[in-house]
Structure formats: structure tokens, C-alpha cells
């Protein structure tokens, strides 16, 4: 090929690259920067996009309400495509911008695992609201991980409590069979430990049925379910895998009423295409479900979308995953607020101060009501040793058109969860030679 053309092309590219790398980092003390790791493309985009929309909308709402004591929030999105290596690249790209990232929400268990290794060095808290690694609830060992308002272990525990209640008590679970249809990745494997622990306690049987990424190939899995006829099916799926599972259940004739999804498997995109076929399908609602009537949603519509600044389609505002993104953003904003309470109102917060803030989130019902979350959430109270802060969840059921709550509030059983968290986290501390923080360290 023509060498000169190539040389010109190369030098143009080089100039572009240097321009890209020398973008000036505007640093202003009254701004607070958040990287947004999102996936709006790929196999999981239908679920990733509403999450990101809710997340960004809440930060816009916070700015419209005047920021956090006057501090404006700024953010930048980066597309991970749910791939761990791209996610790590995004994190590296964004963590130093605008005076440093305040906190990062990886939105993928794989990326969470990778960032868990990097966060202590960078001093940036990793918030995994409702996902991530369950043992990171123990803040003494996982100083920088925040699985706020729920983990997969807690979610699985609530599901077991729910079926026990349906059966009429934990003793009735004896001899029952629960099949776990899970996405074959660290995410899908998280609940296994808890289910096996509960199975040992109550004498039910757990059947493990992995489904390979992206989850459109499930014929064999459902054939197994047809043969073994489990009493309940728990679904730990994501993206296209969920709707495929429900369709396969319909095809095999497995009652949808006996299927329970985790909260990643319980949103509108998962069931909408199946429509009536998904009627009766249940899913875990980690605190919230679809909340189109909440005050905060009305605020988003009037203060953000009405001004033409909304992210994503207006019809999706208030749906399950949108709410999830919104609440994730709310928790980090409240972390900033808590940190400002100690380190100076209206000041820029560093990652290390943010950690203190996240460890001292105290949202009682009154504070939640003031933010517009009445009826959406229960109070959250984190501490240095408990990075989860709240273990409440409900079950909601799809009626063919929308999600309705079908149970009362449940609370994850500390007696089951705490020993497991302590065991797993102390194993991690031993492997990594981490000295757990003592209550004295927490005061610093």
C-alpha cells in the first residue's frame, strides 16, 4: 500500500492520541467526581441501560436540588460491556480524573473481584449495592468494599425463608428439592454456599444447574428439571438468560408460581417479552420493586425529565432496574453527605473520607421520607464492621403487566449469615495476609 498515505494516517492518529491523553483535568474544590461503569451494549444491555439511566438521573436530580450542601456532582460514563478487562480499563481511565474518583460502582461481580484487589491501594471505595462478594460485608477485612443494602447470600436466605413460610415452617422443608438455575460466573455461584448451608440445616436438597454465558441455550437444563421435578426453582440469571428460562419453563410446563428469581432476574425486561407466560413468576425485591408512584420518581420527572435533561426513555423511569440504579446513586450521595458532616460541609471529599462517610450512613425513616423514598426502602445504618447496613427484602410477582408485591418484609437471618461472612472473610484475610481492623482503627 501507499506508504505516504499510511504515514499521514499514522501521524494524524498520533496527534489524536496525544490530544486524548492530555485532556486537562479540571479540578474544582466544589465538585465531586463519580465514574459510571455501565453497559449499554452487549448481551446484558437491556438490563444494564435502565440501571445506568436511574443512576445518572439521580445525580442530575441531586444537582437540581442544589447538590450536596452546594457541592455539584460530576460524572463520566464508561462502557464495560460486562467484560472484566474492559471494566478494569475503565476504572483505571477514570479513577484519577477531576481530582480523583469518590467511589466506584462496578456493576459486575467479575469487575468487583478485580477491583477488590486494587481499591485498597488507590483508596477508592467500591460500592456494590446488592451484588458483589457476600463476605465483603465484613468491613474489618474488606475495608473498601460496600455491599450496601444486601448481598446474594442475604437474598438467597430471604428466598429460603419465603418458601419455608409458604410450606408452613422450616421443618416442612425436609425432603424438598430446590433447583438453582444459575449464570455460570462468579455472580451465579455466589448463592450456592448459602443454599447448601441452609439445606444442611433444614434437610432439603439443592440441585445445581449451571447455564453458560449468555444463557440462550437452556434446553438441557430444563430437561433435567422436567425429570427431577424440583419443588422450587431459584433463578440466578441475567439479561437474555432470564426470559429464556421463563420461556423454557413455559415450554416444559413448570409452574411459574414456583419460580423465584434473584433481583437481577426480576425486572421488566426479563418478563415483558414473555408477557402472559411469565404470569405468576416471582422475584426477590431487594427493598424496592417497581416504584412509579414514589415521591423521588415524581421529583425526577418534574426536575430532570420535564426540563429535557432525562437519561433514557421517560416510560422506564421508576421501573425495577431504574430504581436499582437510582438507589445505588442515592446511597453514594448519602455517603458524601455523611462524610461532609465530619470533614466539612460544602467541601470536596477524598476517597478515604468517602469511606468514613459510607461507614457512617444513617438513614432513618424520616430521612428516607425527606429524600422521597417513603415506602421504597427501610432504614439503613452502616458501621465500620457492617458494610451492608440493612438486610430487608420483599418478594414481588409479575401479573402479566406489572410487578406487584406479594409478601411482607423479610430480614436476612443474622444467625445464619454472620458466621458464614466471618468464616469466608477470615479465610480471605489469611490468604491475603490482611490484619483485620479493630474498633479502634475505625475511629480514625
Amino acid at each position: 500500500m501507499n506508504l505516504r498515505k499510511l504515514a499521514v494516517a499514522a501521524s494524524v492518529a498520533a496527534i489524536g492520541l496525544s490530544a486524548a491523553l492530555t485532556t486537562p483535568a479540571a479540578f474544582a474544590a466544589e465538585e465531586q467526581f463519580f465514574p459510571v461503569l455501565a453497559y449499554r451494549t452487549g448481551a446484558y444491555a437491556p438490563n444494564g441501560a435502565p440501571w445506568a439511566n436511574g443512576f445518572v438521573d439521580y445525580m442530575k436530580l441531586t444537582n437540581a436540588r442544589g447538590g450536596v450542601n452546594g457541592v455539584k456532582l460530576i460524572w463520566e460514563e464508561c462502557e464495560t460491556g460486562y467484560a472484566t478487562d474492559r471494566g478494569v480499563e475503565c476504572y483505571e481511565r477514570l479513577k484519577g480524573k477531576h481530582g480523583g474518583a469518590t467511589a466506584v460502582q462496578p456493576l459486575s461481580t467479575g469487575i468487583t473481584f478485580a477491583l477488590t484487589e486494587k481499591a485498597p491501594g488507590d483508596k477508592i471505595p467500591v460500592i456494590t449495592a446488592g451484588y458483589g462478594r457476600s463476605e465483603s460485608q465484613n468491613g474489618a477485612v474488606f475495608g473498601w468494599n460496600f455491599p450496601l443494602v444486601g448481598t446474594y447470600w442475604m437474598g438467597a436466605d430471604v428466598l429460603v425463608q419465603h418458601i419455608a413460610k409458604k410450606e408452613g415452617g422450616f421443618d416442612k422443608l425436609k425432603g424438598k428439592k430446590v433447583a438453582l438455575v444459575y449464570h455460570d460466573s462468579p455472580y451465579g455461584k455466589e448463592p450456592i454456599a448459602l443454599l447448601q448451608e441452609r439445606a444442611k440445616m433444614h434437610g432439603f436438597e439443592v440441585q445445581l444447574l449451571p447455564v453458560a454465558h449468555p444463557g440462550v441455550e437452556q434446553k438441557a437444563t430444563w430437561l433435567q428439571i422436567r425429570q427431577s421435578k424440583p419443588d422450587y426453582v431459584f433463578l440466578w440469571g441475567w439479561g437474555v438468560m432470564n426470559s429464556t428460562s421463563i420461556k423454557e419453563a413455559q415450554a416444559t410446563g413448570y409452574p411459574r408460581e414456583k419460580m423465584y428469581g434473584v433481583w437481577w432476574s426480576g425486572a421488566e425486561p426479563d418478563v415483558k417479552d414473555v408477557g402472559d407466560g411469565a404470569k405468576g413468576y416471582n422475584a426477590l425485591a431487594m427493598q424496592h420493586g417497581a416504584e412509579p408512584n414514589a415521591k423521588v420518581i415524581k421529583d425526577v420527572l418534574s426536575l430532570v425529565h420535564a426540563k429535557g435533561q432525562g437519561t433514557g426513555p421517560k416510560e422506564e423511569v421508576g421501573q425495577v432496574l431504574y430504581m436499582r440504579g437510582l438507589i445505588s446513586a442515592m446511597l453514594q450521595v448519602e455517603g458524601v453527605r455523611a462524610a461532609q458532616g465530619r470533614y466539612g460541609k460544602g467541601k470536596h471529599i477524598t476517597g478515604e473520607q468517602m469511606r468514613w462517610g459510607l461507614e457512617n450512613i444513617s438513614l432513618d425513616q424520616k430521612a428516607l421520607d425527606a429524600l422521597g423514598f417513603a415506602g421504597v426502602m427501610r432504614p439503613v445504618q452502616t458501621s465500620c464492621l457492617d458494610h451492608m447496613g440493612s438486610a430487608w427484602a420483599r418478594i414481588h410477582t409479575w401479573d402479566g403487566k406489572k410487578w406487584n408485591f406479594s409478601s411482607d418484609w423479610y430480614q436476612g437471618d443474622e444467625k445464619v449469615l454472620r458466621p458464614m461472612v466471618m468464616l469466608a472473610s477470615s479465610k480471605y484475610a489469611e490468604e491475603k495476609k490482611i490484619k483485620p481492623r479493630t474498633p479502634e482503627d475505625c475511629k480514625k
Binding site: 500500500m1 490530544a19 455501565a38 472484566t84 484519577g96 461481580t109 460466573s185 454465558h213
Partner: protein, 358 residues
């Protein structure tokens, strides 16, 4: 003018047979290596190290391994990702199960394990060729994907199936900062790269190339296909396995089998095809193309959009990135089917005549 070997006379076979017989080449390459060791650590920030340079070095090493098998010995493989995984998981198991195992030792043992596994999965190459062999190596990919997902022993009973390594140390050198990690990978790459260059120039490399060009003729002149093919599989898998160990230990720190999925195998094969089959330097070009270009496009497009006053959403960026990337692959394959390495050598030929072409 500057790049011309007129008047350079060799007086010994040794001088004639060295890797870079032309002094200009030699000095430039030495200069690049010296710059990589001493210059880059002073110039580059953490993002470039972690997001671009370290993955580039590690995947170059893997591409080098694949190139030995595909480019030099002519055996197509789609199982490179699996051998990376074998290297990474074997290294992990050596590190945690053998007390006092040094990190470098674990990575090299991981590479050796990958080499042994490579020999086993190379056995079909003695009977089947071409696309059929590619399908046979695909079996390796699926088998190891399955094994690392299902067999708990490999992951030390990690509940989520994700394993992690921390506190990397080489003798007393604690490999913590990105600069350390970069230098560690670079050191390994330089040593193994030099070894690869010498292997393919030596008797064993000639055997591989003879098998590649026509295996019947190679057998007639006395080359044993069994030995040549399996040694290519072993050496290639060793390189790929070491790269896998580095990918897990140094780059990711914590990984699951998805990090070494079939996509990784294709990526490595494309690196070799685009960079240049049967060329050591081509492996580096290919790795650069596949690692750096998507990230570059991803960062460039919003800026380009900004020039025209458009706000580009990240979803659009990532779609356009895939389109441009695909178009560039086709473009390069059409204008230069022999890969970027051939473009490079054409450029060198032109440079020799410059400024007075015929």
C-alpha cells in the same frame, strides 16, 4: 541514506548469522529495548501502564506463542485461551499448594504444565490437518473452560469460582506499583522473545517451517513430524501458559475462567493473522492492533464528536468502535494479506532506497 548496508562487510560466519546482521537494525532494536526499560517508566502515567502497556506486553507474549504454532509450524489452533487458562490456574495452584514457592517459579511451572497439556492436545495434529485440527483444538478450549468452572480443586474451593493472588514478590523485589509490574512483564517478554527468535532461526525452527510448507516433503528429507509438531505445540503452549500466568497474577490479580474464554482464543489468532504469520515482530504489531486500537477508538470518538459539537453516548461509541475496528481488520487483510509485519518490511525496503528510488 541512513539505512543502507553498502560497505558493511562480514568477516566471520558468526557476524553473518547474528539476529540483526545490519548494525542500524541492531542499534534501533537495542535503543527501543533500552527506552522501554529506562525511558518509559519516567514518562508514562499509571493509566497507560495498567490499561494499555501491561496488557499489551502480556498479550504480545501470548501472540508470540500462538505465532510459533500457527505461523511457524502451520498448525491452526483455537485453543490458545485454554492454554492461557491452564498456565494461570496451574501457576495459582503451585503458588498456594507448595509452601515457599516463589512467584516466578510458579509462573514458569504453570508454563511447563501448559506445555505438557499442549502436547496432549497436539496429538490429533499428527492425523488431522487444517480446519479439522482447528476444530480439534477447540475441544481443548471447551474442556478446560468446563474443568476450571466445575472442578473445585483447581480453584481451591472458592465459593464463587474466582481465584486471586496478591503480594507478588520476586526475591526481595515487591511487585506492587504499575511500574514494577510493567518492568517484570517486560523482563520476561524480552528473555522469552529472544529465545523465540533464536528457536525459529535454529534447527528446530527450520523443521517447523518445513512441516508448515509441505509436510510430505519435510518427511522425505528426514524430519520427524511427530517430534516437530509436538515440539511446536509444547513451546507454543509454554509461551501462552506463561502469558496466562502473567495475565492472572500481574494484570487482573483475580480472575475467573471467563477471562480466558473462547473470545480470547480468537483474539490471539487474529493478532497473529493481522500482525503477520511467521514473524516475531508481527506478534507485537498484532497485539498492539488488537489491544490498543479499540481503547484508542473508544477515547477518540467522543473527542471527534466534540469537535463537531455532537455529544456521543457511550453506547454509540462502543458500537462505532466495533464497526471501525472490523472495517480496519478487513482493510488490512485486503491491502496486506501478509499482515502488518509485511508492511513493516516493505517500509524498510523503501527506506533503503530513500531518497533515490529507482
Amino acid at each position: 541514506m541512513f539505512y543502507r548496508e553498502n560497505g558493511q562487510f562480514k568477516t566471520s560466519y558468526q557476524a553473518d548469522q547474528q539476529i540483526f546482521p545490519i548494525p542500524q537494525d541492531r542499534w534501533v532494536i537495542l535503543g527501543i529495548v533500552a527506552f522501554a526499560f529506562f525511558g518509559i517508566p519516567l514518562l508514562v502515567d499509571e493509566y497507560l501502564f495498567r490499561a494499555i502497556l501491561i496488557p499489551f506486553l502480556i498479550l504480545s507474549l501470548a501472540a508470540l506463542g500462538v505465532n510459533i504454532l500457527v505461523g511457524y509450524c502451520g498448525q491452526i489452533t483455537l485453543g490458545a485461551g485454554a492454554f492461557m487458562a491452564v498456565g494461570a490456574y496451574a501457576a495459582y495452584n503451585f503458588l498456594i499448594r507448595v509452601s515457599g514457592m516463589p512467584m516466578l517459579g510458579a509462573i514458569l511451572l504453570g508454563g511447563i504444565t501448559a506445555a505438557l497439556v499442549g502436547i496432549v492436545f497436539g496429538i490429533p495434529s499428527l492425523r488431522v490437518r487444517g480446519l479439522y485440527l482447528a476444530v480439534a483444538t477447540l475441544a481443548a478450549q471447551f474442556f478446560w473452560d468446563w474443568a476450571f468452572l466445575r472442578v473445585k480443586w483447581f480453584t481451591n474451593d472458592a465459593s464463587s469460582g474466582s481465584v486471586s493472588v496478591a503480594n507478588l514478590q520476586l526475591f526481595n523485589w515487591s511487585i506492587e506499583s504499575p511500574t514494577d509490574k510493567y518492568l517484570f512483564c517486560l523482563g520476561i517478554l524480552v528473555v522469552l522473545g529472544l529465545m523465540a527468535k533464536n528457536l525459529v532461526r535454529g534447527s528446530i525452527g527450520r523443521q517447523w517451517m518445513a512441516i508448515r510448507d509441505m509436510d510430505v516433503a519435510a518427511t522425505v528429507i528426514g524430519i520427524r513430524p511427530l517430534y516437530a509438531k509436538l515440539s511446536a505445540f509444547a513451546v507454543s503452549s509454554f509461551y501462552v501458559g506463561v502469558a496466562g500466568g502473567l495475565w492472572g497474577f500481574v494484570h487482573l490479580g483475580s480472575w475467573e475462567p471467563a477471562a480466558f474464554s473462547i473470545d480470547r482464543s480468537f483474539q490471539l489468532l487474529f493478532m497473529v493473522i493481522i500482525g503477520g504469520m511467521g514473524s516475531i515482530v508481527g506478534s507485537f504489531f498484532g497485539a498492539a492492533f488488537i489491544v490498543i486500537l479499540p481503547i484508542f477508538l473508544n477515547q477518540m470518538l467522543p473527542l471527534v464528536g466534540g469537535l463537531f459539537g455532537l455529544e456521543v453516548s457511550i453506547a454509540l461509541v462502543s458500537h462505532v468502535e466495533i464497526m471501525i475496528f472490523g472495517a480496519l481488520i478487513i482493510f488490512f487483510l485486503i491491502v496486506e494479506p501478509h499482515g502488518i509485519a509485511r508492511l513493516w518490511s516493505t517500509a524498510r525496503e523503501k527506506l533503503r532506497l530513500w531518497p533515490f528510488p529507482h
